[in-house]
């Protein structure tokens, strides 16, 4: 079980210095693994007939939203250091349904070492509930897609929301 402060997730643990611990153990049990925290300024755009995308998407010719790291991260710590290309909710408004997807460059394995949980505001997504896709063509890509996710997790277009990836606890 991960340690928390009350019901609040812990973002970083430091002791007597400013170098954060990547993980903390109690005995043999890992109780903390430093999360990946992103701040995404939400963009919204129609991307196909009946589909609006909300969030961040710089895949292909897209230029939707912005992404910044909320705390310093060693670049190779997450997703093999590959870029996150999409973190977005797709709204299929004719059917009032949706899905959430992340896409990273290159081929990343589908395992707890990638991440275990993704949180966007009140939305909590387990990796193992996603369908997993890889393409080995060209530079390759990796996608985790959760469907259905019928409620927009973002707070609003133009707002900046925290995205939290957790793993290994």
């Amino acid at each position: 079980m991960p340690i928390k402060i009350g019901s609040t997730d812990i973002n970083e643990i430091q002791l007597g210095g400013n170098v954060p611990f990547e993980s903390v153990y109690v005995g043999a049990d890992k109780v903390f693994s430093r999360p990946l925290l992103l701040d995404i300024t939400v963009g919204s755009q129609a991307i196909a007939s009946g589909t609006i995308e909300h969030g961040y998407d710089v895949y292909g010719q897209m230029n939707l939203g912005t992404l910044s790291y909320a705390q310093a991260q060693p670049s190779t710590d997450w997703f093999n250091g590959e870029d996150i290309l999409i973190c977005a909710w797709q709204e299929y408004f004719s059917s009032s349904t949706g899905s959430f997807a992340i896409r990273v460059e290159g081929n990343v394995s589908n395992s707890d070492s990638a991440f275990t949980t993704l949180k966007v505001n009140n939305l909590v997504l387990n990796r193992t509930d996603a369908a997993f896709f890889q393409s080995t063509s060209g530079t390759g890509w990796t996608v985790w897609q959760w469907s259905p996710v019928n409620t927009n997790p973002w707070s609003g277009t133009g707002n900046t929301d925290r995205v939290r990836f957790e793993r290994d606890v």
Binding site: I47, Q61, S111, D112, T128, A130, F132, F133, S135, V143
Partner: protein
């Protein structure tokens, strides 16, 4: 009919296929109905092609 392999990931069972240039895993934990598994893989392959097509780009 997809010929798939299975992979254990903690308590999760994935059905895994390689088709075209795609590698796909879908969660089949607790699923015993082969038709449902095949349908899930078929939907996933369709999804993968859409993801690759850049139709929204």
């Amino acid at each position: 009919m997809f010929e798939y392999t299975t992979r254990l990931d903690g308590s999760t069972t994935w059905a895994c296929i390689n088709v075209d240039s795609f590698y796909i895993e879908v969660n089949i934990t607790g699923m015993a109905d082969e038709i449902k598994i095949q349908n899930k893989l078929s939907s996933a392959l369709e999804q993968a092609r859409e993801l690759n097509s850049g139709k929204d780009k």
